[in-house]
Amino acid sequence: MVNPTKSYKNTFILLIITLFVIIIINISLGSVYIPLKQIFLSLFDGQTERESWKSIILNYRLPKAITAIIVGSGLSISGLLMQTLFRNPLAGPFVLGISSGASLGVAILILGASFLGANISAYAFTNWGLAAAAITGAFLVLSAVMLAAIKVRNTMSILIIGLMFGSLTAAVISVLAYFSSANQLQQYLFWSFGSLGNLSWKEISALTITFFVGISLVIFIIKPLNSLLLGENYAKSMGVNVKLTRNLTLISTSLLTGVITAFSGPIAFIGLAVPHLTKLLFNTSNHKILLPAVAISGAIIMLICDSIAQLPNSEYTLPINAITSLFGAPIIIWLLVRKRKVFY
């Protein structure tokens, strides 16, 4: 018998080629012009004409590109998982309050530093301090949503609970901001703009390891996620342990979102917009196809956003969060106006 499952090989090859092209474009853009040949030379350990070029590529642009790839992939996968689990096209790490939880952790650290005392604030403003705070915040909000999920079976209610947690954390942040000094407020504001740069190789390896832990959990729930497309009752009747699947999904999402938000700030819209774009492109709901597709598309779109944010040939860098929103919001509006069916 012919297996009519469509082959997406060509689309994937095209996506991967696009990814590599965009990586090269992303690395070659910046405030300093570096010839393409020199870029390849520095990437593959050759001798560049100027030592500074190699240093710019290896210590600044390459780490930033890698961060963009991980941030884009991780957030998009989180969004896809949330959309399937909650069977709601508007679900995403933001909607469930996970990103807000991470922000709350950071806000407490930066804005609440005066309450914590000077000793702690010395540690607080390192990236590591921020990371720990954001991951803790993400986990706390997610555990609260998970506890609610055990009590409330209806996925729509869980979504609303997630939104409420988002509002709650936003309110707490506002109160903290009200009592903070201008200096602290500025620090928090800069973090909340989001940034893909400024990460050391050490921090990138921490980000990468957490990313792969999150992804490997996801690989094991591809099959149950597919049966969840028919709803929880059908999934159960096909032998799926719905509770375990749900918990694994939530854990991997909080790992991915938490660590990404910590290192790069709360980046909006990627988690929501990329899965929809990918579903339009691939026209499938099968997670075996969608997961890698969403991961690659997320990386590509994040790299594009980052390339725009750098304002090529200028000294300025725009906040990455502004660019993703400028890019993401019109897409969602366009999707809704065109009345395309939005799938989970």
């Binding site: 499952t5 591809i222 099959k223 497309l229 028919l230 709803g231 709901s285 069916k341 799938f343």
Partner: protein, 264 residues
């Protein structure tokens, strides 16, 4: 505890209903029934009498309040999820969530209890999916998207998915609720055929009493006072059908084999 292997389903002194923190709400009590393989059973009763609750209890979706259920002589509680999925498959009334699954993908999901961790379909799996399409006569729909199907086509596809799950028992909750007469009859004759030709045990809850009386091998009647099960002909003969609706408005006419409005 092993029982005679003859009955594929055996229910003993079953009470069904819901438990909340404060109270136990019994919906039906003292249910006793034995069922042999290869029968088409129609579960009849008026709205709200507990048909869905009974089906949910039998399919391990919700726990029973009292009594025992044996499937293939094994106690219902002792099955794990995957093993149970190889014995009982479901066709539910609830609407499918929107997705861009193709018909093939949906039917192939029925193989999930058998496939490996990533859901790889072996040649054997593909063969069983193929025969599920053939039995339901839906092969031409294979490459369509599920959201493109009409209600009648979708119902057939959902039955095909249950067949792909390759279980001796198939439970359907009001499968013809949204269908016109043509598709309703089509669905019922398909179910009848699956029971008689492929020895499937099929339990259908339905309001299509006329069709049930003509096609069902056995009837399970849920009336306000008692649960009656038995051979269709016998239940017609001893006028048990009349107990379904205790009302002055309609009564069962044995010769016509259908309910008629009382002329008063």
């Amino acid at each position: 505890m092993k029982l005679s292997t003859k009955h594929i389903i055996q229910v003993k002194d079953l009470n069904i209903g819901y438990t909340s923190k404060k109270e136990v709400k019994t919906i039906a009590s003292n249910l006793n029934v034995e069922l042999d393989a290869g029968n088409l059973v129609c579960l009849l009763g008026k709205n709200g009498i507990g048909k869905s609750t009974l089906l949910r209890t039998l399919t391990k979706v919700q726990p029973s309040l009292k009594g025992e259920i044996f499937i293939n002589s094994t106690k219902l509680e002792t099955f794990n999820f995957t093993d149970f999925a190889k014995i009982v498959s479901l066709v539910l009334t609830e609407q499918l969530p929107d997705s861009s699954l193709t018909v093939f993908e949906l039917v192939a999901l029925g193989r999930q209890p058998y496939t490996n961790w990533i859901g790889y379909l072996t040649t054997e799996d593909l063969g069983i999916i193929q025969s599920a399409f053939e039995k339901t006569n839906t092969k031409h729909l294979m490459n369509s998207k599920c959201f493109e199907l009409s209600d009648g086509q979708l119902q057939k596809i959902l039955i095909a998915r249950a067949l792909a799950q390759n279980t001796p028992i198939i439970v359907l909750d009001e499968p013809t609720a949204h269908l016109d007469l043509h598709h309703t009859i089509n669905t019922f004759s398909l179910l009848k055929n699956l029971a008689s030709e492929f020895n499937k045990t099929i339990i259908v809850s339905t309001h299509e009493i006329n069709l049930a009386l003509q096609l069902a091998d056995e009837l399970w009647l849920m009336t306000p006072n008692e649960f009656i099960s038995g051979n269709t002909e016998e239940l017609i003969a001893n006028n048990s059908i009349n107990k379904l609706f205790e009302s002055d408005l309609i009564s069962f006419n044995k010769t016509l084999k259908q309910f008629t409005i009382n002329n008063s």
